[in-house]
Symmetry: C2
Subunit: 215 residues, 2 copies
């Protein structure tokens, strides 16, 4: 090991300054997706909140997971999802990261973030939750499972993808989305945004066979 390497043990981590720990641990898991979650409550008030805790679970059936903190800013999101059973996820493109980031502010439940940050709600007949029209990748989901984590009282929800709305130009012939063409951003920590540049696609891994660059 090189000399300039820092070891933090359990006790060191506990002693870290609160702000330092928040930035450090939030960036520790690696790059994160950035999605706006669109929901609506029974009164018809729409909500839009940024999440960087969205994760792929499986493709057959198509399932996406999301961690929702117990007392984090977008707390209307979970109650709306449970109330209506539906929500949308909308990828964030570089051109509207400021608006997307602003949805994390702690607004009253009777105000819609769509109006506040000036993103346009877009509805389909499939589900009651609103999409963000500006988003290049729109995903409609139906809540199918939820867990309360004992370790920090977060909720882990699983949604089945029931609709996708995506420009054809972003969908490659074999199904892969060209996220960098759409200027979809990645994030790290709680406030840092990244553009991406494709390194390459790698071949299917099999024992005894070298990995090749295939795209």
């Amino acid at each position: 090991m090189k000399q300039d390497v820092i070891f933090f043990g359990s006790e060191d981590l506990k002693k870290l300054d609160k702000e330092f720990r928040r930035n450090f641990i939030n960036s520790l898991s690696g790059y994160r997706s950035v999605n706006l979650c669109g929901t609506v409550n029974k009164k018809g008030i729409t909500n839009l909140a940024i999440f960087n805790t969205v994760i792929h679970i499986g493709s057959e059936p198509p399932l996406i997971g999301m961690v929702i903190k117990p007392s984090s800013v977008p707390r209307d999101t979970l109650s709306n999802i449970i109330e209506t059973g539906y929500y949308t996820l909308n990828h964030v493109a570089e051109e509207f990261i400021f608006k997307a980031h602003q949805t994390a502010a702690r607004y009253d439940s009777n105000k819609s973030e769509f109006e506040i940050v000036k993103l346009r709600p877009f509805f389909t007949k499939t589900l009651p939750a609103p999409y963000a029209e500006e988003s290049p990748v729109k995903i409609g989901l139906r809540l199918i499972e939820q867990f309360r984590l004992k370790s920090n009282r977060s909720t882990f929800i699983v949604g089945e993808v029931i609709e996708t709305i995506i420009p054809s130009s972003l969908i490659l012939n074999d199904g892969l989305l060209n996220l960098s063409l759409a200027h979809v951003v990645a994030s790290s920590g709680i406030d840092t945004y990244y553009a991406t540049q494709k390194i390459g696609r790698l071949s299917y891994p099999s024992p005894g066979k070298d990995i090749d660059l295939i795209g």
Copy 2:
């Protein structure tokens, strides 16, 4: 909506070609982190497997989640984690993406991927699981919670971070990791790797206050 937008509904998604759906749904959730998970079984045989389903859960206590598929390639990983209670996550840098990707091949349980792909195991006294020495960001975890998802029989595990080993040059003054300096990669789908370029850090969101670029 523009004319070139493709709507897929639930029935459309079910009818997609298997390969197309796998690529499409795997890239639908957005950018993904890329981590090598290091484990060891009771016989002392080490295992290293690539995961792009790692997710931040909380910073106090420091918790990281991971989805493990029921019959995916790195099936030794889950049994080793349950057997020993410990595992490591190691960020993948651009210089060893071929080796990292190769760990997804379906090897016999009695062979170690460290030897096969030629990455070096590195141990500390804190936990029995091996780190990948080449990785710029090494995280030691203790299993504290697991759920079996009903929707597709995946397992969602939660680990508490009990050790981190990171070059000091990558840790900014306020705790944020400079992942792009370490050439840590992001991924999309099952086989596409990306380098990143920082767009910027955005200010803390508060109602009535504009978002600024702060770094």
